[in-house]
């Protein structure tokens, strides 16, 4: 296995980002040429207007860092986890349930609620993991089905257990289940950022250690590179596939817990709509080059775009332009492999490129 130089990977990510942004700019130009320049400037600088905006970047980044880690972790074992959305919402439901019913837990309340979220996400990913390992069911299809099953099941359970009939959503959690702010509200006033961001950073570092510093991580990656060869080398590839999915699900579930315990007035709405944060995990993982620390930055980057996009409404643009840009970025990062080989070939042809 030839190791690709990191800077080439980075360049191809940068390329996808630039083309995506350019695409967004063109759309702004078409829809309103007079304001396009200002609007585009706002996307790029909006996140740095004040400390509140910076705090909002951290707040938006928190759940998508976790879904990004989730997609990345499964990806390392050669699995595409498109089910982060379902895992996230099942985790979120259990967190909200514990958050509502577990007031007796006192100071540990929010921790237990997060653990429940982790368990929920893990359980929801266990099923496609087992189906893949034992019956060879393609994990993409199984995860898509699990997304919808999870969504309908959570809708049902919310109505049965923690329903706010007036607003058609889940009841607010107890104050003790809200994730503490740990002083972040002093640094970033009025911004909703909370200790969840530190948990996301901790999760990224933990995943880095597991993937790159342990035998278990090595085995997971070996299965991802070549299932047959790793079986030949004595690795139990079925067990690793299941574990990889379970950990991926646990991460997405934790993301759901952090999102709905943030005490920001976000509730599980009883609508037939998949949680978008699960899908945003895919561009986060791609832009982060499937590396836990890269994902940390990719999550922050997408949070930064989201906050900038919010200010676009000042210029009469719809903030959905950010989703358009993100979609363009994913589309072009799907080309990344081609771009990488293109740059490499050029480097060889021109005699440059240095050590490979």
């Amino acid at each position: 296995m030839k190791k690709r130089p990191l800077n080439l990977n980075f360049l191809s990510s940068l390329f996808a980002i630039c083309v995506g942004l350019l695409f967004g700019y063109v759309i702004l130009l078409i829809s309103n040429p007079a304001q396009a320049g200002d609007g585009f400037g706002t996307i790029l600088t909006g996140a740095f207007r004040d400390m509140r905006s910076v705090g909002r970047v951290l707040y938006f980044a928190t759940p998508i860092i976790l879904t990004g880690l989730s997609v990345c972790f499964a990806f390392k074992t050669g699995l595409f986890n498109i089910g982060a959305s379902g895992q996230l919402i099942v985790g979120a439901y259990l967190a909200v349930l514990v958050g509502n019913k577990g007031a007796a837990l006192g100071g540990a309340h929010w921790v237990v609620a997060l653990l429940a979220a982790i368990a929920g996400g893990a359980l929801w990913a266990l099923i496609p993991g087992l189906l893949k390992a034992l019956a060879n069911v393609h994990e993409v299809i199984a995860s898509i089905m699990m997304n919808y099953i999870g969504m309908y099941l959570v809708n049902y359970l919310v109505v049965q257990t923690v329903f706010d009939q007036l607003r058609n959503q889940s009841l607010p959690v107890a104050a003790s289940a809200v994730i503490p702010r740990w002083g972040l509200d002093k640094i970033f006033p009025r911004s909703n950022v909370n200790a969840g961001f530190f948990i996301a950073v901790l999760a990224a570092v933990t995943m880095y250690v597991i993937l790159y510093k342990t035998k278990f991580g090595f085995e997971l990656k070996a299965v991802g590179y070549n299932r047959d060869a790793s079986r030949y080398a004595g690795i139990n590839e079925k067990r690793n596939i299941v574990l990889s999915m379970v950990i991926a699900g646990a991460l997405a579930g934790l993301g759901g817990g952090l999102l709905y315990l943030a005490g920001t007035g976000k509730h599980i709405e009883v609508v037939n709509h998949l949680a978008p944060e699960g899908f945003t995990g895919i561009p986060v993982a791609l832009l982060g080059l499937s590396h836990p620390i890269g994902i940390l930055f990719a999550g922050l980057f997408i949070g930064y775009l989201t906050v900038g996009g919010d200010y676009l409404q000042l210029y009469d643009f719809a903030p959905e332009i950010i989703d358009v840009i993100l979609a363009a970025i994913i589309y072009f990062s799907a080309f990344a492999l081609i771009i990488r080989t293109f740059i490499q070939r050029r480097a060889i042809r021109t005699g440059g490129g240095g050590a490979k």
Partner: protein, 317 residues
Amino acid sequence: MKIIYFIVQQTMTFSIPLLIVALGGMFSERSGVVNIALEGIMVFGAFTSILFINQMQDTMQGQLLLILAIAVAAVSGMLISLLHAYASIHMKADQVISGTAINMLTPAVAIYVARMIQQIQQIGFVNTFRIVSVPLLGNIPVLGPLFFQNTYLTTYLGFAILIVSALVLYRTRFGLRLRACGEHPQAADSVGINVYKMRYAGVLISGLLAGIGGLVFVIPTSTNFNATVAGYGFLALAVLIFGQWKPGRILLAAFFFGLMQAIASAYSGIPFLAGLGIPNYFYRMTPFIATLVVLTFTSKKSRAPKAAGVPYDKSAR
């Protein structure tokens, strides 16, 4: 009897878009390109055609407008599927990632454009397309109320597409070549079939049908388009798998899934089902669970096209 008529009519409403879109997915996958972008293509087809209806409904109504809107949906579906075709065939990109990008792109574009044009994201339309009773055929006892009353032109279009699809896939040279490219592209190439061209054709047909399917889904079920087709693209993907990539079975799967949706949305009005007291969420979940169960028992000996999802690389022959 009235209840049975009602259920059948409702089932049609939900089954036909699933049938059309799943047939589209069949063409793509049998040519060797996995298409999870069906949802996004449906959204785009519905968006452009409903916008078209919204703009034109003052000058024309009824079946003529519907036919023109279907054409708009078909063309725009094909255009957006070109993105997927280019990425997955020419650029040899990961087909799941490219599909995901399209699924994210089209709802965002639909909301953005709608809000830039008319401030709100919902695009309203007046439904002048319902056929209360087909002349003559609607008067036939039993069959009339079942299939020719309270219906839409699109229902018959759906069946026409099914018949044409089956004929094309199994009775034409094009169909044979398409299937060859999905099973063993190297072999197909070695006898002079242009694999890239066939795969482009497969993806474009899926775009055409999924675009139409988006419009067909929105018209009977709503009075406005809100940048979503409620997961029907993914449900169609399940229909495709449940139907084992074969037109006849896809029809059965579409009816089964459509029936579940019909029950879920109308069961409270049906005394027998309301008495059972099963919440509608379970009816909505059933198709997805059923697909998982089918997959569990068939994946070891999957009938999926062998080369689906693998970019064709001429130099690797």
